[in-house]
Symmetry: C2
DNA sequence: ATTTTTTATGCAAACCTTTGCACAATGTTT
DNA sequence: AAACATTGTGCAAAGGTTTGCATAAAAAAT
């Protein structure tokens, strides 16, 4: 039988209420009593039962994370370890623990959320959105339950979210390539229906327009989630009469696939073609050549998400906000000024 | 005000006990009552308050994970996302959530553990040991609190742990290289004080002995945690009169560092020297050339750890066990049969 | 028709805290 | 010395479940 607050009270010759007040540093307790009680607590190795505490305070000091469903696939993407690291770090330093759960399918996922929310298991929830969780978002909103979305919701504008600006990031990358003299810049997305694909394409498009270059369909292509999936698209690009001098890819993995494909076919990066990735994963700095990429501040997003959620739980403002974490271009050897022989060709 | 079990009971015209029994599928409840109560629960959107439940059952259905302290550094290593993925997946499918916490320093870490254990926040704990947590292990053991260690404890033999066999893995790698005709095999560890460095070295040593080859000091060297740290050691090896025909490194990152260093100095892998990594991270399959590595089943370790912990919590056996997850050699292009011109040189 | 067994339900205590309110003791003002 | 303010503590209710035991109703056995 574990030792409780009344054991401490008895031994200290005070009431449980007093012990409770000592623990919460209630100003009304005298120095003397406080010291005495603390000593007994120490002696007995007392630690409050959090369940009992939560039951009365209606507070758990837990932050919930719903892991994206096909955990299998998505976890590979360094994204999740990075963001969770951010969340846990911030949470811990604010006195919160992080509770993770996941569901095998949409129904189970929703059940998990209900369990956490209605079962009062967590004080707030961070949704790692990579798909349509609109249903769950509605559920949380209806109940006015504290939550923040990492990413972007298409249907709900009036929620708290933490995200990066993919349009701006792609715009910056494209613009920088243009400044370096590249004129024939290709864009290789992931699966086209992903928001991130669309957003980054927009940025690319915008920069091109601004610089007065037309959008050329043969420079726009699509890969999947894997390096292999980039192969065909890469070769198609390089077989064009006016091959691009630079390729912007939507992810380091795809950039990797492109570089490997070119290499396998006797073409060097960046000599024959510059390649840019996204997300600045370990891979990008390790590759030969190291891949220029965009650090979209994933760790920082985790920190921000936890911070914002905790503020919301405590009722310190927010309530509605869209927090954008700044990105940063990381220029590496996979990019160079376009080769003279390539540059002069025009489309 | 949230809706409680008595709201349901009232509306269904039964007592709270009955509702409780309906929820837990108590066999004594009649079909009719059960159906009636379930309908009301549905209507009212009732969900039990887990805190209250935990308070009386002394059970939380939470698994705790203590994240290694310098979370910063270690998280980079894909290890943690993999293992957590395994843990969460298994936990979820067994009706458990996973609660993560961390401490900034040793004291905070211990405080966190006490909070979880004595505060009855979790039913069991998974320790991700990468350092001396002996103190915490003692604490858990003394209290007879369910926990499993991922890794190995030097001081405590009689605990449940999940690990891979690094000695055997390195032995297998070395043996395979010997079989391919390599005779001059170097070994590059990480920081030498790490258990993993020691174990893998043992395996290497053992295979060499068995094959009748002497241990040659100039072939044993040490790198750090990063690719850069491997540079000097790699060049030292290649500058030897009898340069090795193969290098076994303790981690893919180090293998990567070696490959890059050789490349920068005009040497090709595997033509000039074969290189083997460890851990089979994304990097190893993405590298040019892809790195032969050892899959030590990290995801599977997560699964096993969660599985074993849950069994222990439920009192289904275990109690003391050392579970070894099998490894698997993943042979890739960074290894080839030694070049004839290299082979004939002898030391 | 009575007793026994079985089946289905309810009562109330217990789990461990926190906290509003009342109260006692001490110190301060008139 | 009386009235008042201040300070420190305790009482008891509340929070939402589960569960051992008792009991009522129904079914089965005598």
């Amino acid at each position: 039988m574990a030792i409780t607050i009344v054991d401490v009270a008895l031994k200290a010759g005070v009431s449980p209420s007093t012990v409770s007040r000592v623990i919460s540093n209630d100003s009304r307790i005298s120095q003397k009593t406080s010291k005495k009680v603390r000593k007994i607590m120490e002696e007995l190795g007392y630690h409050p039962n959090m369940m009992a505490k939560s039951l009365v305070t209606k507070t758990t000091h837990n932050l919930g994370i719903i892991l994206p469903r096909p955990a299998e696939e998505l976890f590979r993407n360094q994204f999740f370890s990075e963001i969770i690291r951010g969340i846990v770090t911030k949470a811990a330093s604010s006195g919160y623990d992080v509770l993770m759960t996941t569901g095998i399918n949409a129904d189970e996922e929703e059940a998990a959320v209900r369990r956490l929310v209605q079962g009062r298991v967590v004080d707030g929830i961070i949704m790692l959105s990579s798909r349509q969780d609109e249903h769950i978002i509605s559920f949380l909103k209806d109940r006015n339950f504290p939550f923040v979305l990492v990413g972007r919701s298409e249907h709900h504008a009036d929620i708290i979210s933490v995200d990066n600006d993919n349009v701006a990031a792609a715009y910056d990358v494209t613009k920088k390539l243009l400044e370096q003299g590249h004129e024939r810049i290709a864009f290789m997305s992931g699966p086209a229906n992903l928001t991130v694909s669309k957003d980054r394409f927009s940025g690319y498009h915008k920069a091109l327009l601004e610089a007065g270059f037309p959008l050329r369909n043969e420079y726009i292509c699509e890969a999947g989630f894997t390096a292999e999936s980039a192969s065909q698209a890469a070769m198609d690009l390089m077989n064009l009469k006016n091959r691009p001098t630079a390729i912007i890819t939507i992810d380091d993995v795809i950039a990797f696939g492109v570089i490997r494909t070119l290499w396998n076919n006797g073409m060097l990066v960046p000599e024959q073609c510059s390649v840019v990735g996204f997300n600045n994963t370990i891979m990008s700095e390790m590759c030969l050549p190291p891949i220029a990429s965009v650090d979209i501040g994933i760790y920082q997003m985790g920190i921000s998400a936890a911070h914002t959620l905790i503020s919301t739980i405590k009722g310190e403002g927010y309530g509605q906000a869209r927090i954008i974490v700044p990105h940063q271009l990381i220029w590496r050897e996979s990019v160079s000024v376009p080769d003279a022989s390539n540059v002069k060709t025009t489309g």
